[in-house]
């Protein structure tokens, strides 16, 4: 659920077509978007899950799956 919600946020923010595939392996950097988009998407994810992702943590994420796993771990703890 967590990943699907993130994928929806990304799809909506970037106005991507339904046929554009977003997987847990997709990385924000790989989507040809700039740093401003990355910040906006992260802010939307933080709002949606009511969490705050520390800046240091952001640097560790390689792909959307990593973000989903981080959110799960925060919610479970």
């Amino acid at each position: 659920m967590c990943f699907e919600k993130i994928a929806d946020i990304v799809r909506h923010h970037l106005a991507l077509d339904e046929n554009v595939e977003i997987t847990p392996e997709s990385s924000l950097k790989g989507m040809k978007i700039d740093s401003l988009d990355v910040v906006e998407i992260i802010m939307k994810i933080e709002d949606a899950f009511e969490i705050e992702i520390p800046d240091e943590k952001l640097k560790e994420f390689q792909n959307l799956g990593d973000i989903a796993n981080y959110i799960k771990s925060v919610k479970e703890s």
Partner: protein, 413 residues
Amino acid sequence: MLKRVVVTGLGSVTPFGVGHRTLFDALVAGKSAVSLVSSFDTSEFKTKIAAEIKNFDPDPYFPKSETRRMDRFTQFASVAAKDAILDAKIDLNHLDKNRAGIVLGSGFGGIMTTLEQHKILLERGAKRVSPMCVPMMIPNMAAGTLAILFGLRGPNETVCTACASSSHAIAAAFRMIQNGKADIMICGGSEAPVNPLIVAAFSSMNALSKRNDEPEKASRPFDKDRDGFVLGEGAGILVLESLEHAKARKAYTYAEIAGAGSSTDAFHITSPDPDGSGAKSAMRAALADAAITPDEISAVTAHGTGTIANDVTETKALKAVFGEHAYKIPINSIKSMLGHALGAAAALEAVSAVSSIVEGIIPPTINLENHDPECDLDYVPNTARKAYLKYVMTDSFGFGGQNSVLIFKSVNN
């Protein structure tokens, strides 16, 4: 040797829709764009009316991925510029883009974004302010965005002189081509000021009409019963080219820019010098620049805001500059229909003046029912008028006392 500069494309976004023909048809028909404000609750406001662009949708013109990163004033400018470039039939693939630039004017820039993000700051805290806040709010981003959209790498500047912004912008673009710094310039202005802060702020100055029960009759330049201006919004864009560049690509030529003049009142932050000294200087400078005498001017597109001060002062200045000829020339104010689109107003007036020259018809000043005794010139009251126009002057005067006057000339294609 200065180069001759011609107008080869027109574009606009107004409450009447997208496109200069749509705009000019509405102006000639004497339609008012003023209505009750729908974008926010005006119940606590003294003024509840504006010439607002309702249901504006930039998505047919640019991908959503682009428009979502634009403030409303940049969306207006982008759509109007696309319209003007199409109108000029410019083939962007065969253009020396290093010789093509942009000068735009805006009074407030991305004020909608500023307000939205400030609300987020107050309600949700510093960490929720969008990284798009700065790029969307800064007034030069409309011109920057156009450069990206169309790949134009020549001179790119933004002018901020309140209600004269887009006149100064057109003048700056004119000079760049005259002086050989560019072959082609996209110029004009855009403004999106219909929001609670700006309406409240102008209201506090008693600058806005409060004729809320008759919106279409509220903007009444030169009328005895005028009670202030009506806020408007939109964008006007002109494509300017050197005559030789336009000829080389066999472009249709609407008109030539004959001259431009600029001055400052150096008198008061908002009130015009009651003698019209600044206005007179700008008119005289434009006439000198065009190397013509006042009696060669066929018509004037007035600043004509509908404030008590402007209309009297502008009339005085016109009489001082034109003498007896002032009584013989038609002088119109399209703000009577479009309201006052601030930084976009002069560009929309330039679009109208150029269209008047081409079509041989002058849009009226509507709502002119009872002449102010101090405004006793021919303001083309209420009905459009056919006329052969050789030279048309457009006046623009901004808060800060910054004045700009342009003169357009008829050309034979």
